[in-house]
């Protein structure tokens, strides 16, 4: 570990050379912008810029691309909090917790919390990467199909807690999400499901148009029909950075939960095929159960504690995805897959020997992540006052602007009009569902989680020749299943105990 520390110092010294520092800054700032624009995620940002970096030296190139990647995680929160449009899937819960705060005129505080927590989460992720990266990579290997299936099952069952006031309607929403996720080709058997002969549906409904429509466009419909009234009195005169800052006490109270959620998020982030969404969501659900301020979360008011849980977890997860990339040469997410392509194009050989063969490269990248996180934090805080100006824009001007952003975001996802139609239809349907009291968050979460669950269950069953016992025979899988069972039964058990008490 001491050797690691020395290597890190060496890496830091490479990372702070003016050229690399500039690359880091450009990457971070670009990432924040790209992340804030819905539809253009980190994957698109990195793959667009990848050819440009071929001419740079590999160290500066990866520093810049990594900057885009984690800057994106900062930026994703902005559109979620300000416009209720999550830029990518981990930010769904940020929108649920952050946007209500914007409606109460507290956007600044939500943004500050997001930045602060992103910074803490990112930093903890990097510290883990530095100290125990290779060890974590080995632990990650223990998570095969049955383990991942049970973990995803745990995540799916916890959707049950956010079903809203009426569990029946929540279940309808969850089922809807699962059904939508089934559209398209079943990769395992190459059969088509619910495509009705349409070539547009071959690859299924993609996430960006769906989420932009369900969150962003349905919001516009709400505004237009007068369903959303911003409280005019609150947001005047509260636009400076100072007003957005959390108090020292609040920051200190956020720290322990940031630590918890970052560890959970970072851990799940480096598991094969889990990704930022599962980790952010599970960390958030954990906080909903154990946080001191859990009563404030998930309500109509939004809460800094909720925003913080999601943001620290997904930033830690985004760093976690680097662990398998650097230590094994296997990408842990679609963005790191693009970075893997970059490594090969720059003439490096990503694999178990990368740290031995190219120590300068690896440690400079890790060193730059520390610095990049600080740069993103500073830049993120500096733009808050400007972002806050959005709040002064009256609804009759804001609604058309959001509509344009929704259309462009959906179009940019796959450069097709079909995505725009998907977005509009999703928006209208969500608007109608909400009128009937059916919540939209379970739809999008089950949409994201169900395909992973299906794939992993099928893989596990194919491996075991259709023996269901495989889920119980693997200790890690059994643990998750028991945990899920306990969580499912706990509310009923508590009710029973309470009733008995009353009876006595």
């Amino acid at each position: 570990m001491l050797a690691n520390f020395q290597s890190l110092l060496m890496g830091l010294s490479t990372a702070v050379t003016p050229y690399n520092l500039l690359a880091c800054l450009i990457g971070g700032v670009l990432g924040i912008f790209v992340g804030a624009l819905p539809g253009v995620g980190a994957v698109a940002g990195c793959s667009l810029l990848l050819p440009i970096t071929y001419k740079m030296n590999p160290v500066a190139a990866i520093i810049m691309l990594a900057g885009i990647y984690y800057g994106n995680m900062y930026g994703g929160a902005y559109s979620a909090i300000l416009l209720n449009i999550p830029g990518d899937s981990p930010a769904v819960m940020t929108a649920v917790e952050g946007y209500p705060m914007t409606r109460r005129g507290l956007a600044g505080r939500a943004l500050f919390t997001a930045n602060f927590s992103s910074f803490v989460g990112g930093s903890i992720g990097i510290i883990c990467l530095t100290m125990v990266g290779p060890l974590l990579a080995q632990i990650g290997l223990k998570f095969g199909p049955p383990e991942m299936a049970s973990l995803t099952f745990l995540a799916l069952t916890s959707i049950g807690w956010m079903l809203g006031d009426d569990p029946k309607k929540g279940l309808i929403a969850t089922a809807l999400g699962v059904m939508i996720s089934n559209i398209g080709m079943d990769a395992s058997s190459a059969n088509f499901r619910y495509t009705f002969g349409s070539t547009n549906l071959l690859s299924g409904i993609s996430f960006i148009p769906l989420v932009v429509g369900m969150f962003g466009f349905s919001q516009v419909l709400n505004m237009v029909t007068g369903g959303t009234k911003v409280d005019e009195s609150v947001h005047v005169g509260k636009l400076s950075l100072k007003e957005s800052m959390l108090t020292k006490k609040e920051m200190i109270s956020l720290l322990p939960q940031c630590l918890r959620t970052s560890l959970v998020g970072g851990f799940i982030g480096f598991l094969p095929g889990a990704g930022g969404t599962t980790s952010a969501f599970l960390a958030y659900m954990m906080e909903r159960k154990i946080n001191k301020h859990r009563d404030e979360m998930g309500g109509k008011t939004g809460s800094i504690y909720g925003v913080s849980a999601v943001e620290s977890a997904n930033n830690a997860a985004s760093v976690g995805a680097f662990i398998p990339l650097l230590s094994l040469g296997i990408p842990g997410s679609s963005t790191t897959a693009v970075l893997l392509g970059g490594l090969m194009a720059w003439g490096l050989k990503p694999g178990p020997l990368l740290f031995q063969q190219e120590p300068d490269f690896c440690w400079s990248l890790i060193g730059s992540m520390y610095i990049g996180n600080v740069l993103c934090l500073i830049f993120g805080l500096a733009v808050i006052p400007f972002l806050m100006k959005l709040m002064k824009v009256p609804a009759n001007i804001l609604a058309p602007i959001i509509t344009v952003v929704c259309i462009v975001g959906a179009y940019a996802d796959s450069n097709s009009m079909f995505a725009v139609w998907t977005m509009l239809v999703a928006g209208v349907i969500t608007f109608m569902l909400q009128k009937k009291g059916i919540p939209s968050t379970p739809i999008i979460l089950s949409f994201v989680l169900a395909p992973t669950f299906e794939l992993k269950v099928r893989q596990a069953l194919e491996i075991s020749n259709c023996n269901l016992l495989i889920f119980l025979q693997k200790p890690i899988s059994l643990f998750f299943l028991l945990f899920a069972a306990a969580m499912l039964l706990a509310p009923a058990a508590i009710k029973l105990v309470n009733r008995n008490k009353k009876g006595v």
Binding site: A44, T199, L202, S203, P272, G347, G351, N415, E462
Partner: protein, 324 residues
Amino acid sequence: MKKRSVLCLVLAAILALGLVGCGGGSSSAAAYPDQAIELVIPASAGGGSDIMARLLVQIIQDNDLCSQVITPVNKQGGGGSAGQAYVNSKSDPNYTIFTINDAHTIASNVSETRPEGGFTPICMLAKDEVLLVTKADSPYQTMDDAIAAIQANPMGLTVGCADQLDKICVFDINNSYGVEFNNVYFDSAGEIATAIMGDHVEFGIFNPSECASLVEGGELKALASFSTERCAAPLDDVPTFTELGHDDLVFAMSRGIMGPAGMSEEAQKYWSDIFEKVCATDAWTKDYVEANGLTPTFMNYEEYTTYYEENEKNLVEKIAVLGE
């Protein structure tokens, strides 16, 4: 002031994005090509097809081989058929080309995105070798060990596959050796590698570029290759199936360039000539073919058309048997 500049930046970004999809629709009698060309990659950014396509575009630009701009467009999904459906939707067949490999060829037949009369073959670029791989410290250090183990325990050992083509490979091994290996679908070769290293599956089907660094790093071990001759280092100590006495197990995945149905012969020849020049550059032979352990096999549009028809027929027959 600052507020305005931020707004300008955002608006500019939105406008720029809007322009991405705008392409000209006019075509005149001027020499081909007189407008921008789209290179469709029917796979996601960062994958094998994507890396290859972007390198091709870069080489064409660096050597000024084409007077027009070539824009790579990723259309992933459906194992390649989403990209093909997109190609089919284009009104002018002369200004779109796309990358294809054998897995995509299968997808075009399974999902019926293969147009009436087929696509227009432009050229074959290279062949990607295929290997059967296991964990470095597994009990199966040779092909014989693996066969003995599966004979003792039919369906008890599993091979990870990333597409239908990999499944054909497993099917062929089972037929040739008279054994029953189980197979499991994974989303990518990377996921198969983690599953092997974590002892969740025993074997996997890989291309050299997908496993070379893990073999070199002592994590994985290749048991046999489907190639006619041994692969390049570090896989040069891996026997071919032919050496092991199974000369029916010879297979390589071809990577090529296609045009939409109805592309003019002029355009077909134009692109075939350009890619012939690309394949002669150092950038291609060193940075791609050699670096990824491929076998250079350029075929111009005439040779490739014959080859493609034959190859497609073979693949379709096999996948039909597999489906039963």
